[in-house]
């Protein structure tokens, strides 16, 4: 049993957890804050991956990540445009964009289904070279260190942003539509900004992943929305709601914990084909957990009170 929790498993689970936490953060903005089910996540993630991979191959690893973010902003903008200006239902808008992105992604990868970046410089090789000879490098910890810094910056920026006038307006848009209309906020604008930010985070996540695993595949994003949703719910269930900073922390925690669960599942020799089922189960359990807990508490109370009353009646 002790073998399940090796340091290296924890290490790579954390690395992936931090990378994917950006998608979860994106979903936090679209799903929790704007109250929009944005289903373009899968395609947008692959988009970030594909764009970053292409630019990385051409020798610009940092630019690659900005390019991925730019592509994500565009994708988010189109999703928003469809629903705010063309009257397309928000779920449909996401599905349409997701479908269209498949072609865009293939094109971004030079019409091949996968790319490999084994020979390329990445932000990880740059970090390794920067740190130089040290135990951080030999233990491979520099990757985690870099990711923690990146994700922390992103999380702090998002948290600060949500406290600005525009950020508060975006939050109000998803919280009380009636109020927003009567308070000089243009919901079309706030939804657009929100989805652009969400898209850029999703694509950034994809871009970092491409450099992390030194490859990019057209199907990389499949199921991403479910995974991100699972992480989001796990984080929210365990950390709870409250101030934005706490909720953002919950997002990152949920993402890492999810990766850890998956890593353990792999370790327990769950076949690769079954991983999607495991994911689905985790999602279902995470979502149902608060409800089951509440129900169990009530049932318990009911039976103790009933028992007490019966006793009282007999006496």
């Amino acid at each position: 049993m002790s073998q399940i929790f090796t340091v290296s498993i924890l290490q790579s689970a954390l690395e992936l957890g931090f990378i994917y936490s950006l998608v979860v953060l994106a979903l936090f903005i679209s799903f929790k804050i704007l109250n929009i089910a944005d289903l373009s996540t899968d395609g947008c993630f692959t988009l970030g991956c594909a764009v970053a991979a292409s630019v990385t191959i051409s020798g610009h690893p940092v630019l690659a990540l900005f390019a991925a973010m730019g592509a994500g902003v565009l994708s988010g903008f189109i999703t928003a445009f469809l629903q705010t200006r063309l009257g397309v239902e928000s779920i449909l808008a996401g599905i349409i964009v997701n479908t269209g992105l498949y072609t865009v992604n293939i094109a971004a990868m030079g019409f091949s289904a996968n790319l490999n970046l084994f020979q390329c410089d990445s932000i990880f090789t740059m970090a390794r070279d920067f740190i130089g000879e040290s135990s951080l490098v030999t233990g491979g910890w520099y990757k985690l260190l870099l990711l923690i810094v990146l994700i922390l910056v992103a999380a702090v920026l998002v948290t600060l942003f949500l406290g600005t006038r525009l950020g508060l307006s975006i939050r109000a848009t998803g919280d009380n539509a009636a109020m927003v209309k009567a308070s000089s906020i243009n919901p079309k604008f706030t939804i657009t900004v929100g989805l652009c930010i969400s898209g850029s985070l999703t694509a950034l996540s994809g871009g970092i992943l491409a450099q992390y695993q030194k490859s990019c595949d057209i199907n990389l994003g499949t199921g991403m929305v479910t995974i991100a949703l699972a992480s989001l719910i796990i984080g929210e269930t365990l950390i709870g709601t409250g101030p934005v900073a706490k909720r953002v922390a919950g997002v990152i925690f949920g993402s890492c914990l999810y990766r850890f669960i998956v890593a353990v599942a792999i370790r327990l020799n769950v076949p690769a084909e079954c991983l999607k089922l495991v994911s689905a189960l985790i999602v279902a359990v995470a979502i149902a957990f608060p409800y089951i807990k509440e129900n169990a508490r009530f049932t318990k109370r009911k039976y103790t009170e009933m028992a007490r009353r019966k006793k009282g009646g007999a006496a």
Binding site: F161, L166, A172, S183, S184
Partner: protein, 267 residues
């Protein structure tokens, strides 16, 4: 301050549900006017407010606020200058945002020009929010970090009022904003409204179904029926009117009795 010229509005025009609601309505409010509005059910009081705030565009006529023609301006543009409180206390605040965040939003959006998209509220602003809340005497100043959704209806309505007036609006529209509250809370929110409006000389329109309030609050009383203002009284003449006189005036001008299911004849 506010000028409505010959406003027409028909809902669902050309269908079986066609409903002509505003029929050539005109109204002129002077700077600092505080007018109460009474009228029968469906007279078009709320519709008139919605026309002013821009929930829809009117079919014809002009709306002028402080010299600016806003007839074709978008709703979010108009609401920078117009505070609007509804009967339903749930409509005015974002339930999952804290009291402080709600106030920050109201403050940042209304104080035009000075605040860009990325501005945040300062410590000083927060202290100012607290001062405003203390005025309510509801203990809200100690609950700034709680979600607004935890407040009672009356507390939320009081908060909404503060939010709408913290930065003085050019016009304040109150649509039976105390009608959903219990009598004691309603009294409190009303007193607060009176103070704020008087203190800052806000131009204000208030729909009420309380005939006594209609005569005693503010400086002018308007009566509406079937999409028009049928009686408009202020000054000396108003101060001599009793509730009964007012009802008779309505009957004379509208040709029927004032018919409102929520009407209160005494206070």
């Amino acid at each position: 301050m506010l000028e409505l010229k010959n406003i027409y509005k028909t809902f669902n025009a050309g269908t079986v549900n066609e409903k002509r609601v505003l029929k050539g309505l005109s109204l002129s409010l002077a700077d600092g006017d505080f007018a109460t509005i009474v009228g029968s059910n469906g007279a078009g009081k709320s519709t008139m407010f919605n026309a002013v705030t821009g929930v829809f565009y009117v079919d014809s006529g002009e709306i002028i606020l402080d010299g600016e023609d806003i007839t074709f301006k978008k709703e979010y543009f108009r609401s920078k200058e117009i505070g609007h409180l509804f009967q339903d206390p749930m409509l005015g605040t974002a339930p999952h945002m804290t009291i402080e965040e709600n106030m920050a939003l109201a403050y940042l959006r209304a104080s035009k020009g000075r605040h860009g998209y990325f501005s945040r509220v300062s410590k000083k602003d927060k202290a100012m929010f607290k001062e405003h809340l203390r005025m309510l005497d509801m203990g809200l100043e100690d609950r700034m970090k709680q979600p607004a959704g935890l407040l009672s209806g009356g507390q939320r309505q009081a908060l909404t009022l503060i939010m709408a007036t913290m930065v003085t609006p050019k016009l304040l529209l109150l649509d039976e904003h105390t009608a959903a509250l219990d009598p004691a809370t309603a009294e409190k929110v009303l007193g607060l409204t009176k103070n704020i409006v008087a203190e800052r000389k806000i131009t204000c329109l208030m729909v009420t179904h309380n005939m006594h309030q209609a005569l005693t609050l503010g400086n002018r009383t308007l009566m509406m029926d079937a999409g028009n203002i049928v009686f408009d009284v202020s000054g000396e003449e108003r101060s001599r009117l009793s509730v009964e006189d007012l009802l008779n005036k309505f009957k004379d001008n509208a040709g029927k009795n004032l018919d409102n299911d929520r009407i209160l004849l005494s206070d």
